[in-house]
């Protein structure tokens, strides 16, 4: 269960899959209310492990109240953050991590775009890292980058080296592809050898620097030049997935839930109509399946050897036009 506790974020990464939530107005539910937050926790399994994200979750005006509630319930949680917060927030996080297990998925991209940003990031990162290190928990931190089309493999090698120099230690390193924002049916990932090359280079660089590389979301085997490259990626990139394996369940501040951020309104339900988050999860998985069985896969996927052996199921639904006009159904 991913709780989008606020839409606020000042970082403005160019690839952000939540950029449509940046144009917020007064009318919008910008911040999740505490009531909605506790309602979601009540609906989740008692031993659930919520992920807090945004926007930037630490930007929520009542961030401390939310963390206190998690501590009261003794719930371990994951914080998905850009680590560009102030010292007060940093201390709240450190204190929380003394009481429950806190994992961190840290957006580490685009830190050079604004002056002083890299230093602020590094200060926060290092303070939390060093605190966790004392308790042998530093592996709970994972840095992450998302590939942008206009940046080369060489850029990412330099960038990773810089991260390595500035940060006390990087244990895990997540890599992801930017999802299509507005342009549908542009299956840029298919047979995109350049993108495959970036994956390969970044994976190799991460290993050289002593990070454990892992995949965020899914990857497409046709991106790689040959079998040996694909074998390397499968061997050294952790959490390899070539098809969507289940609903991430992104819950928005207003209590509606989307299958995942990139799918936006295409698969969205109102969690208040359900007794449990499991049921929300189940229904959104059903909707995903319905749509997945009805989209027409691009010609490039026809006769694909990976599809034939069921290793890949074509592009994720976020790439498709899922409108009623195209699919003939409206779910």
């Amino acid at each position: 269960m991913n709780l989008i506790i606020t839409k606020r974020c000042d970082k403005g990464c160019p690839y952000c899959f939540a950029s449509h939530t940046r144009n917020i107005s007064d009318k919008d539910d910008v911040d999740m209310s505490f009531e909605t937050f506790t309602e979601m926790l009540d609906k989740a399994m008692p031993n659930s492990h919520p992920k807090l994200l945004g926007g930037e979750p630490t930007s929520h005006p009542e961030f401390k109240l939310f963390i206190d509630e998690l501590l009261k319930r003794k719930l371990n949680f994951t914080l998905i953050s850009n680590f560009l917060f102030n010292e007060t927030i940093r201390n709240i996080i450190i204190e929380a991590s003394k009481k429950v297990e806190v994992s961190f998925l840290i957006n580490s991209s685009n830190l050079e775009d604004v002056k002083g940003r890299f230093d602020l990031f590094a200060n926060n990162y290092n303070a939390i890292y060093e605190h966790l290190y004392k308790d042998d928990k530093e592996e709970a931190m994972s840095c992450g980058i998302t590939f942008e089309n206009n940046k080369t493999s060489e850029y990412y090698i330099d960038y990773m080296q810089k991260l390595n120099e500035k940060l006390s230690g990087i244990e895990r390193f997540r890599i992801s592809i930017a999802n299509p924002e507005t342009k549908k049916e542009d299956f840029f990932i298919l047979n995109n050898k350049e993108l495959g090359k970036k994956f390969l280079t970044v994976t190799q660089t991460a290993i050289t620097l002593g990070f454990t590389p892992s995949l965020d979301c899914i990857i497409y085997p046709c991106m790689f030049e040959n079998k040996e490259e694909w074998k390397y990626i499968k061997k050294f990139l952790a959490k390899i997935r070539t098809r969507c394996e289940g609903c991430p369940t992104d819950i928005f501040p207003d209590g509606t839930a989307s299958y995942c951020y990139p799918l936006k309104e295409s698969i969205k339900v109102d969690t208040r109509k359900y007794k449990t988050i499991d049921q929300v999860f189940d229904d959104m998985n059903m909707r995903y399946r319905i749509l997945e069985d009805r989209v027409t896969h691009p010609d490039k996927c026809k006769n694909c050897p990976f599809k034939k052996i069921n290793m890949c199921n074509g592009p994720c639904l976020a790439f498709f036009d899922l409108s009623k006009e195209t699919l003939g159904i409206n779910i």
Binding site: D282, D283, M286, I290, R294, L327, I329
Partner: protein
């Protein structure tokens, strides 16, 4: 075994939340029950089980059921294709769907493979208001849009109308409407036990009006019951239901979907029927006439017992956890059916 019908529960979920649905306790649905969805790797085992247990004399039917079967279209399509190319026994496919997930591609596939379909529609728009999406939106318009294409490509399609306390007032209007659409149709009575005498009289009056005006009547209201069939459904030694996890049940209503539901499975597709005692109990119970004599239940003294088959056993089970009790609603609606039939004579 000599089964003639295999009911396949392709998924226990549905994209609608019809307020009267027998599965409608969705809010209590146990999402961790591991009974959610059939996967293609089950097909060889299902067909093997069917080969071992199918009637040697009669053709068999694969009933693609749910939840909403089209919510698992991938399995649906693969099962029809693989069965047609590999299963030697004479067979056909039927399915009951809510219609909202049909598109031209799917209709073409169903037509090409001669899949007989029944689409749930409760008549005119006002009467259909209980059929809503998960988000509470009405579905009537989307069904009406697709009906002409269904009629053109699969002319024998049946419409299924549920009549309950919420819409019995529209019964006559609905029959007229279906006649206008030129579809055959069935009525499923929503078995609530608190119909008043006046309400039951109104239902009977409306059905008589349908007859008097020479409208085509619902198939299952005036049709004579085939007593050899036992209960309202095929008996347990003729039909068997396969749950998404491969377990065997009498019918879909016994597949546990709710938290704490008792599991009345009597086997699985790999090992066949493993609980013979439970299976035999179902067989006995579903041959209502012989069973009711043995049990000396109230029906033995009923004047219409020859025209009544004792109602749906799943309905009874879910209501009272007791196969011996016959629900009041069963008696009420059997009486209406009897009166209508008497009128037809």
């Amino acid at each position: 075994m000599e089964f003639t019908q295999y009911n396949l529960i392709l998924t226990d979920n549905c994209n609608l939340r019809c307020t009267y649905c027998f599965d409608n306790l969705y809010s209590n649905r146990d999402c961790n029950s591991n009974t959610k969805i059939m996967t293609e790797d089950m097909i060889p085992n299902i067909l093997h089980f069917a080969e071992q247990t199918a009637s040697t004399k009669l053709p068999i039917t694969f009933n693609m059921f749910g939840g909403e079967p089209l919510a698992n279209w991938k399995f649906f399509k693969s099962f029809v294709e693989i069965t047609n190319s590999h299963f030697k026994h004479e067979h056909k496919f039927i399915t009951t769907i809510n219609g909202t997930l049909l598109n031209s591609k799917i209709i073409d596939f169903l037509a090409k493979n001669k899949v007989e379909i029944a689409v749930s529609l409760d008549g005119i728009e006002e009467s259909n208001k209980a059929r809503i999406t998960i988000d509470g939106k009405p579905t009537w318009n989307s069904i009406m849009q697709i009906l002409p294409e269904i009629k053109a490509k699969i002319p024998k399609t049946i419409l299924l109308m549920v009549i309950g306390k919420h819409n019995y007032k529209y019964l006559y209007e609905n029959c007229k409407f279906f006649n206008k659409l030129e579809f055959n149709y069935n009525v499923n009575w929503n078995m609530e036990d608190d119909y008043t005498k006046e309400e039951l009289e109104e239902i009977e009056k409306q059905l008589k009006r349908v007859k008097e005006e020479g409208l085509v009547q619902p198939n299952n209201v005036i049709k004579n019951n085939n007593k050899e069939d036992g209960t309202v459904c095929l008996p347990a030694d003729k039909a068997i239901t396969i749950a998404p996890n491969g377990k065997l049940y009498f019918c879909h209503q016994f597949v546990p979907k709710m938290i704490d539901t008792e599991d009345l499975s009597y086997g699985n597709i790999k090992d066949g029927i493993t609980n013979e005692e439970l299976y035999n109990n179902f067989v006995d119970r579903t041959y209502f006439f012989s069973w009711s004599k043995d049990k000396k239940i109230i029906c033995n003294s009923c004047d219409i017992k020859e025209d009544c088959r004792g109602g749906c056993i799943a309905d009874q089970w879910h209501k009272d956890k007791d196969f011996l009790k016959i629900r009041k609603s069963v008696c009420d609606f059997s009486r209406i059916n009897f009166n209508i039939k008497e009128d037809c004579k």
